[in-house]
C-alpha cells in the first residue's frame, strides 16, 4: 500500500511538475489531510492564485529521503513529525526555513516568540500539536469504563482486543505509565536497560490480544468493526470518527503523549518561493486556529489558542477536544525528541524482534 502511495505521489508530482505558480504538498490523507486542504490549501489558492497539489503518504518523512537521494524532488512542502524533522534536518535532507518570513501575532509578538518551545527550528515550523490517546468503544463496556493507562493493560476487567501503533515509540512510554511510572520519570526510566525490560514485560502481558496498526485511519475502523474494544491512536482520527460517523468512542486523556507536527521543505524543492509563502500563510495565527476547527489538533501558537472557534459545521466549541486544553493536560507526557532521535533504531529493532518472536 505504501509503495503504491509513494508511486502515486511521485507520478502526481511529475505530472504537475511542469506548470508554474503551484506548490506541491505532501500530507497524511484522511481527516488530517482534509484539514490541510480545507484550512490551508483552499484559502491559500483563493488568496494568492497559487495552486496547491496535495498528495498523501502513510508517513511523508519516508518519501523525502527517497526523493532527495534520487535527485528527483517533487514535493515543496511536507507535513512531518517533529522527531523526523530533526533527523532529516541533521542529515541535510531539508532546506532551512527563514523564521523571519513567518507572520507575527496580532499584538505584534514575533512568530518565534509566539510559538511554544521548539515550535520553530532550523528546518521545521510546527502546524499543530497532536497526541496519542487511549480510546474505548463505549458500547463494549456496559458497567465499568476504563479510565487510565493501567486499565488498557487489564484484560480481565476490560476484555477485548486492543490495537496499537506498530513501533516502539509511544507504546513503551504508555507501558511504563501503565506500570506505575509517573509521566515525568518515563524517559529517565527508558534510558536504563531495566526500564526497557520493564516496558517490554508490560507489553508482553497483552501481546496476544493486540492488533497492530500502521495507517492512522485503521484504529477507528477496527473500533467501529468491533474487532477491538480499545485503541491507542491519534486523537484527531478518533475525534473525526465521533464527529462524522457518530461512533460511540470515548477518549481517555489520562496518560496522553503529545508531540508537534509541522512543515518542512525537502532539499531542492522545485518551488521554493511558493513553499515559503504557503508556510507563512498557513502558520498565521488565524489560519492555525481555523485548522483546529477541522481536526482536534491544538495550535502550537499561543495567540492562536484563544481564536479557535466551534467545531466545523456545529455549534460546539472545539476547545475541550484539543490535547492542549488545560483539563486534558493533567498527567500528560510530552514526547521526548532527544530520546527518540538517539534510541529510535535500537528500540525499534528490539520491538521488531519482540513482535516477530
Amino acid at each position: 500500500m505504501k509503495k503504491t502511495l509513494i508511486l502515486t505521489t511521485a507520478l502526481c508530482g511529475m505530472a504537475f511538475g511542469a506548470s508554474a505558480q503551484e506548490v506541491n504538498l505532501l500530507s497524511w490523507g484522511g481527516a488530517y489531510g482534509n484539514s490541510h486542504l480545507e484550512a490551508y490549501a483552499k484559502p491559500f489558492t483563493a488568496e494568492t492564485g497559487t495552486a496547491v497539489n496535495i498528495s498523501d503518504a502513510d508517513n511523508p518523512a519516508t518519501p523525502i529521503k527517497a526523493m532527495v537521494e534520487a535527485g528527483n524532488v517533487t514535493s515543496d512542502v511536507a507535513s512531518v513529525e517533529y522527531a523526523d524533522a530533526v533527523r532529516l534536518c541533521d542529515e541535510g535532507l531539508l532546506e532551512e526555513i527563514d523564521a523571519s518570513a513567518l507572520e507575527a501575532a496580532e499584538d505584534g509578538t514575533a512568530a518565534t516568540d509566539d510559538y511554544i518551545e521548539g515550535g520553530v527550528t532550523d528546518c521545521f515550523v510546527a502546524t499543530d500539536v497532536y497526541s496519542m490517546v487511549l480510546v474505548y468503544n463505549d458500547s463494549q463496556f456496559e458497567d465499568a469504563k476504563p479510565a487510565t493507562p493501567a486499565d488498557f493493560f487489564d484484560l480481565e476487567a476490560f476484555p477485548g482486543k486492543r490495537t496499537m501503533r506498530k513501533g516502539a515509540k509511544f507504546n513503551l512510554e504508555l507501558a511504563l505509565m501503565a506500570d506505575g511510572v509517573p509521566a515525568d520519570e518515563v524517559y529517565a526510566t527508558l534510558e536504563t536497560a531495566e526500564g526497557v525490560d520493564r516496558a517490554f514485560a508490560k507489553l508482553d502481558s497483552i501481546k496476544d490480544e493486540v492488533v497492530w496498526w500502521e495507517a492512522g485511519a485503521q484504529p477507528p475502523q477496527l473500533l467501529a468493526d468491533g474487532e477491538v474494544s480499545m485503541a491507542y491512536a491519534f486523537n484527531g482520527r478518533i475525534f473525526d470518527a465521533v464527529q462524522q460517523d457518530d461512533q460511540p468512542f470515548e477518549i481517555i486523556w489520562d496518560g496522553q503523549i503529545y508531540e508537534m507536527e509541522g512543515w518542512v521543505i525537502p532539499m531542492g524543492a522545485p518551488n521554493m518561493d511558493e513553499a515559503l509563502e504557503f508556510i507563512a500563510f498557513s502558520t498565521a495565527p488565524a489560519n492555525q486556529a481555523r485548522a483546529a476547527e477541522f481536526i482536534s489538533y491544538g495550535p502550537p501558537r499561543r495567540s492562536a489558542a484563544a481564536m479557535v472557534g466551534n467545531i466545523q459545521g456545529t455549534e460546539e466549541p472545539m476547545g475541550p477536544n484539543l490535547p492542549t486544553s488545560e483539563e486534558n493536560m493533567t498527567n500528560a507526557l510530552g514526547s521526548n525528541l532527544d530520546f527518540w532521535v538517539d534510541y529510535d533504531s535500537e528500540l525499534n529493532e528490539r520491538f521488531n524482534a519482540w513482535l516477530a518472536g
Binding site: E91, D342, Y343, E346, E349, A353, W354
Partner: protein, 432 residues
C-alpha cells in the same frame, strides 16, 4: 584462417574429409563462412528487435537493483564526511588507543560535518553499530561549532565522556572505509565485538534468522497447500467437456484478475473475529460468542490469504500440462490390470510433473517475496522477511540493511532455482 587450435576448424576438417574437400557455395566461398555471415546478419536484426526490451530491463531493473544491492556493502556515511579521522584510522593498527592526533582529526571533522549539516548522516552510520550514539555526534558537533580549545582530547572528553569509549572507536574504525560486511553480519543476527571477532547479537535483538526460516517454511507450506487444492481443480478443468470447463476456468481466472488489495481486504472482512465466517459459525452454534476463532492478524491469516491469492499460479501451469495428456494412457494402464491408484501414481502423475514443477516454483518464489498480504493480515506472527525489508526501506531508512536482507533472499531463491534445475531440469518447466 582456421588455426589448429580452433575447435570449429577440426569439425570443418572432419566434415570436409567425409565429403572429400571443403563445401563451397555457388560463387566459390567456403560454405562455413557464408553461413556464418548470413546468420550473423540475422542475429543482428533479431537483436535490434529485442533491443528496446533489453534496454528497458537494464534501465528499470538491472541498474536500480544493482545500485541498491551495492548499498549492502557500501555505506560512506561516515568515511565521506569524516576524512581526517578516517585517514588516521587508515595509518594506525586496529586496537590502537586514540591519541591527541586522533582527537584533533576528530574535532576538525566534527566541525566540518556540523557546518555542512552532514553530522546527522555520520551519527546515523555509527548508530547502526552502537545504538544510542547519534546525538553524541550531533550535540558534540553543535558544541564544537561554538568553539573548543586544544588539547582536543581533553576538550572532547569534557563535552562527553563517551568519546573515551573503546566501542565507539571500534565502530568508527569499522565505518572509516566505505566498504563493510557489517550489514550482512547484522542480517544473520551477528556483529563484531571490539576485537573484530564475529559474535551473535544479544538474544532480544535476534530476529532475522528466525524470519528467514519462517519465510521459507511458510512459503513451502503455502506451495504444498496450493498443490493439494489446485491439483484436483486443474484435473477437472482439463477433463471436463469444453463448455463446463470454460465456466470453471472463469471462476479460476476471475480472482486472478481481481486486484490483490481487494482480495486481501475481502479476506479481512471474512476472517476477522467479528467477520462473516465467525458470525456464521456462531449462528450455526459451532462455537459460542466468546470463543470466536482468531483467523486474522496471525499466521493463519497469512497462510489462508496467500494460499488463495497464489492458487491460480499453481492451477494454470498444471492445467496446461494436463490438457496435453492423452487419456488413452490411463485407460491402457487400467486395461492392463493397474488399480486406479497405481494408474494415477505410475502413469498420470509423472506426466504432470513439468506443470507441477513450474507451478511450485512460481508459487514458492512469489511467496518468498510477498509483502502486502502479510503486512495487512499477518499480525505479528505472520510477518515475513519482506516486511522487515520494507520496514528498513520506509521506516528506519536503513537502506543498506534492507539491501543486505534482500540480497540474501535473492541468493536463497537463486540457490533453490539451481537445485530445482539439478533435480528436475529447468527445460522441463512448462508455464502454460
Amino acid at each position: 584462417m582456421a588455426s589448429s587450435l580452433d575447435p570449429h576448424a577440426v569439425i570443418v576438417t572432419e566434415a570436409g574429409s567425409v565429403s572429400e574437400g571443403p563445401l563451397t557455395t555457388a560463387d566459390g566461398q567456403p560454405l562455413q563462412k557464408a553461413l556464418a555471415r548470413s546468420s550473423r546478419a540475422a542475429r543482428r536484426r533479431a537483436f535490434w528487435l529485442v533491443a528496446p526490451l533489453l534496454a528497458f530491463i537494464v534501465i528499470t531493473f538491472v541498474i536500480p537493483i544493482g545500485q541498491l544491492l551495492y548499498r549492502s556493502v557500501h555505506n560512506d556515511g561516515f568515511s565521506a564526511n569524516m576524512p581526517e579521522i578516517s585517514a588516521w584510522f587508515a595509518v594506525t593498527e586496529p586496537g590502537t588507543a586514540p591519541d591527541e592526533a586522533a582527537f584533533t582529526a576528530l574535532a576538525a571533522d566534527l566541525l566540518a560535518a556540523s557546518e555542512a549539516r552532514s553530522i546527522g548522516t555520520v551519527g546515523t552510520r555509527i548508530n547502526y553499530d552502537v545504538p544510542g550514539t547519534r546525538s553524541l555526534f550531533t550535540s558534540t558537533g553543535r558544541q564544537v561549532r561554538r568553539g573548543i580549545e586544544p588539547p582536543y582530547q581533553a576538550a572532547l572528553l569534557e563535552i562527553d565522556a563517551e568519546w573515551g569509549d573503546a566501542e565507539i572507536w571500534a565502530a568508527m574504525r569499522g565505518a572509516s572505509t566505505p566498504y563493510t560486511d557489517g550489514f550482512y553480519l547484522a542480517s544473520v543476527d551477528r556483529t563484531r565485538d571490539i576485537d573484530g571477532n564475529v559474535t551473535m547479537v544479544a538474544e532480544h535483538r535476534q530476529v532475522y534468522v528466525m524470519l528467514f526460516l519462517r519465510t521459507l517454511w511458510l512459503s513451502g507450506l503455502i506451495t504444498a497447500l496450493t498443490f493439494l487444492l489446485g491439483f484436483p481443480v486443474a484435473h477437472l478443468l482439463a477433463t471436463l467437456p469444453m463448455r463446463k470447463s470454460n465456466l470453471l476456468m472463469i471462476l479460476v481466472l476471475l480472482p486472478f484478475w481481481t486486484s490483490l488489495l481487494v482480495r486481501t481486504s475481502s479476506w479481512m472482512v471474512l476472517l476477522q473475529q467479528q467477520g462473516v465466517v465467525n458470525d456464521l459459525l456462531v449462528w450455526l452454534g459451532v462455537i459460542d460468542d466468546g470463543g470466536r476463532l482468531a483467523m486474522m492478524y496471525n499466521q493463519a491469516g497469512t497462510i489462508i490469504a496467500m494460499t488463495h491469492i497464489l492458487l491460480p499460479f499453481m492451477i494454470l501451469p498444471l492445467y496446461s500440462v494436463m490438457r496435453t495428456i492423452n487419456p488413452a494412457y490411463v485407460r491402457a494402464a487400467r486395461s492392463l490390470g493397474a488399480t486406479s491408484w497405481t494408474a494415477f501414481r505410475r502413469v498420470y502423475f509423472p506426466q504432470t510433473l513439468p506443470g507441477l514443477g513450474a507451478g511450485a516454483l512460481l508459487v514458492f518464489i512469489l511467496a518468498v517475496g510477498y509483502y502486502i498480504t502479510p503486512a495487512l493480515v499477518g499480525g505479528s506472527s505472520g510477518q515475513l522477511i519482506s516486511n522487515m525489508i520494507a520496514e528498513h526501506m520506509t521506516g528506519t531508512l536503513n537502506w543498506s540493511m534492507a539491501a543486505a536482507l534482500a540480497a540474501i533472499l535473492l541468493a536463497g531463491v537463486l540457490i533453490l532455482y539451481w537445485v530445482y534445475d539439478r533435480l528436475v531440469g529447468i527445460d522441463n518447466l512448462k508455464l502454460g
